[in-house]
């Protein structure tokens, strides 16, 4: 990335679009989605933005004549496309009938969803064979309205479909367009676009979060790993924070501000998501019962996502003599964008896979094999945070009392 990291520069792309029948030529950053291109670049503010992750439908526009989410279509991805916004449907016959029907049926109140709703409704008028209420409701399920309760909207769409079919205008089948995402021209249509790789962004270190003694875990799960070594040996190893951290993929210790407290970082990958959590954990353990508790808190760079949690571990004899079962009870709370995206089940799956790697590394370590490469990016994947949090805690826990 040497060439890339030299200086800040204009990273925008030149973009040719046919918008509402007019050729437009502009520049946009690759990260700018079509809705912002339309609103900020061309002052076409009829396209509304709601959720910006494809759920609410407010930004729906026509791309090459077919409805698409403008918030999930990045500028370069629709280069050369024909875009029709709500402003471009003034003279459209179906849109005119829909506007009249929306008026008649009181199908809007605040109007925020209406541009996207009209574009989705127009698509249904074109495609549905008849004015079937169930299919209309299913077809509008990708457009959220928080005012009307949908009754008026559905009635308006039914009315327009019924009228048109009564006039002998049949449904269309989706046409004979080429294969592939609408709005995306193939390599022969548009010259290959290439924007320079941006210079590396500075990585801000996350703030160290304080550990809070009592918290309510929003999610809990238990995990059991088995290693081929006796419980006492395993429990003793858990007293060696560095060794445990080395066995934990993606983990790195950064300090020990107090005898019972460690600081560290955990880097986790789940599919395309990579996150680095930094945090602090307080560790207690009881050699009598071979149990311990790790209580921790952490956040990712920028502090956008934060987690808190505890891991209680218990080392007990395994099924076969000379083996041990490590029972981990994990409870955590996650806030921020990761929580918005993540589903607890995915975290458990990630935890399961990290746990398996951890057990393998632990077994290797106990057998005298060299420790795996510390920290860094193991290709573990999964929903980042929660895991990271629990992992970090787990490894931190082991460090409470060093032999």
């Amino acid at each position: 990335m040497s060439a890339a990291s030299t200086a800040r520069r204009d990273t925008s792309l030149s973009l040719e679009l046919m918008v509402n029948g007019r050729a437009r030529s502009l520049r946009a950053e690759p990260r700018t989605h079509l809705a912002d291109v339309l609103r900020d670049g061309l002052d076409l503010t009829g396209t509304h933005l709601g959720c910006e992750h494809g759920v609410c439908g407010a930004c729906t526009v026509l791309l090459d004549g077919e409805p698409a989410r403008a918030c999930l279509t990045f500028s370069g991805a629709c280069a050369g496309a024909e875009v029709t916004t709500i402003e471009g449907l003034d003279d459209d016959a179906i849109a005119a009938e829909l506007r009249a029907a929306f008026n008649r049926e009181h199908a809007l109140q605040c109007g925020y969803c209406t541009p996207g709703m009209l574009i989705a409704a127009r698509d249904l008028v074109l495609r549905l064979p008849e004015a079937d209420e169930r299919r209309i409701r299913a077809g509008l399920s990708g457009n959220l309205c928080r005012c009307t309760g949908y009754v008026g909207i559905v009635r308006a769409v039914r009315g327009v479909i019924a009228e048109r079919r009564a006039r002998g205008i049949g449904p269309t089948t989706g046409g004979h367009r080429g294969l592939g995402p609408v709005g995306a021209r193939d390599g022969h249509g548009v010259a290959a676009i290439r924007s320079p790789v941006a210079h590396a962004r500075p990585v801000s270190e996350p703030q160290v979060v304080q550990v809070v003694e009592d918290f309510e875990a929003a999610h809990r799960f238990e995990q059991i790993v088995t290693v081929a070594h006796p419980p006492e040996t395993v429990f003793a190893l858990f007293g060696n924070v560095e060794a445990v951290a080395a066995c934990l993929p993606g983990a790195a210790l950064t300090g020990q501000p107090a005898p019972d407290t460690v600081e560290g970082a955990l880097e986790v990958r789940i599919g395309p998501i990579a996150a680095r959590f930094r945090g602090r954990a307080r560790l207690t353990r009881d050699a009598e019962t071979l149990t311990g508790r790790i209580l921790g808190a952490g956040s990712d760079a920028g502090g956008r996502s934060a987690t808190q949690g505890e891991i209680r571990y218990r080392v007990e004899p395994g099924a076969a003599p000379g083996t041990a079962r490590i029972v981990l009870a994990v409870g955590y709370t996650l806030k921020g964008p990761l929580a918005q995206f993540g589903r607890p089940g995915l975290v458990r799956d990630l935890a399961g896979r990290i746990g398996a790697d951890f057990a393998a590394n632990l077994g290797a370590h106990l057998s005298g094999a060299p420790a795996p490469a510390p920290a860094g990016l193991n290709p573990l994947r999964l929903l980042v945070k929660m895991l990271t949090a629990s992992l970090r805690r787990r490894l931190a826990a082991s460090g409470a009392r060093r032999p």
Partner: protein, 291 residues
């Protein structure tokens, strides 16, 4: 939210794309329709240095029949399948699955390949195509290979792609005569990710059957030979022989501890079995109700 800055390239042919994928520095993410990656970029859960848009490659936007197998390029969209713009070898089964994915504006850009590589356990293609016995074709600058889809999907959002490798095509074997097919998913809201999916591909004539339980926490749960879910024998009366208790035991073994979740999955699977019985004797070819 707006994505963090990224560079963007859109190669016009496959060799240029693979070469760039092999040599690009930093964090590189391939993007097809962007309907899964887009939200993650907008939420800044993913912050790549470079987004490589693969939709400019004509080879990835093709469909072909090879013998009894349908070969779909990675960039074929859900709507392409829903509308019948690609050939059908599954008696409409794939069109029905496609028509109930998310919402029409998402289906118009979301792709088959993108969905499989994203490998969300609750997504439709991951489960339905494992049940159909699909294979994926992977390519890198150094060559190509094929992999059974169930081996490709290794966990939640996790697939067996090597560095520099991408999915270029999906190969779907046809549903021959006498094969019963059922696919049912449960969502609390239309278009959202499923809470439970059941998919069955049964051959009562030959006594074989493939059953997949999807929308679980990891990769879909595949039972390649599912006789034990039907009292040890899959015959024309398979719908009456389905044993919910055996399916429940299977889920329990797989680590699903929540009894309610198991109940939902077993119920959805039973509905898929019942649907398979109806398609076998009175094939329904209508595209699903979702518009």
């Amino acid at each position: 939210m707006k994505p963090a800055p990224f560079a963007y390239e859109r190669p016009g042919d496959l060799s240029a794309l693979l070469a760039r994928l092999a040599d690009a520095p930093g964090r590189v993410k391939l993007m097809a329709g962007g309907q899964s990656l887009g939200p993650m970029l907008n939420l800044r859960l993913v912050e790549p240095d470079l987004v490589l848009d693969i939709t400019g490659v004509p080879e990835l936007r093709r469909a072909a029949i090879e013998g009894d197998t349908l070969v779909l390029g990675a960039c074929v969209t859900h709507a392409d399948i829903e509308d019948g713009r690609v050939p059908d070898v599954t008696k409409g089964a794939m069109a029905r699955v496609a028509s109930a994915i998310a919402y029409r504006p998402v289906r118009n850009r979301g792709t088959l390949g993108g969905s499989l590589v994203h490998a969300d356990p609750a997504a439709d293609w991951v489960t339905s195509l494992v049940a159909l016995g699909a294979e994926v074709e992977l390519a890198s600058a150094s060559g190509r290979r094929r992999l059974a889809l169930d081996a490709f999907v290794t966990g939640a959002l996790d697939v067996a792609l090597a560095p520099g490798e991408m999915l270029v095509a999906v190969r779907i074997p046809g549903l021959g005569p006498g094969i019963a097919w059922g696919y049912v998913k449960h969502c609390s809201k239309i278009g959202e990710f499923a809470h439970a999916i059941g998919a069955v591909r049964l051959d009562p004539g030959a006594g074989h059957g493939r059953v997949v339980i999807g929308a679980v926490e990891g990769a879909p749960l595949l039972v390649p030979e599912a006789r034990h879910l039907f009292g040890g024998r899959i015959g024309p009366d398979f719908a009456d022989r389905f044993e919910a208790a055996a399916a429940d035991a299977l889920l329990r073994e797989a680590g699903m501890t929540d009894a309610v979740a198991r109940h939902v999955h077993v119920t959805v699977l039973a509905r898929a079995v019942a649907q398979a019985a109806t398609t076998l004797f009175a094939p329904t070819r209508t595209v699903s109700e979702a518009a």
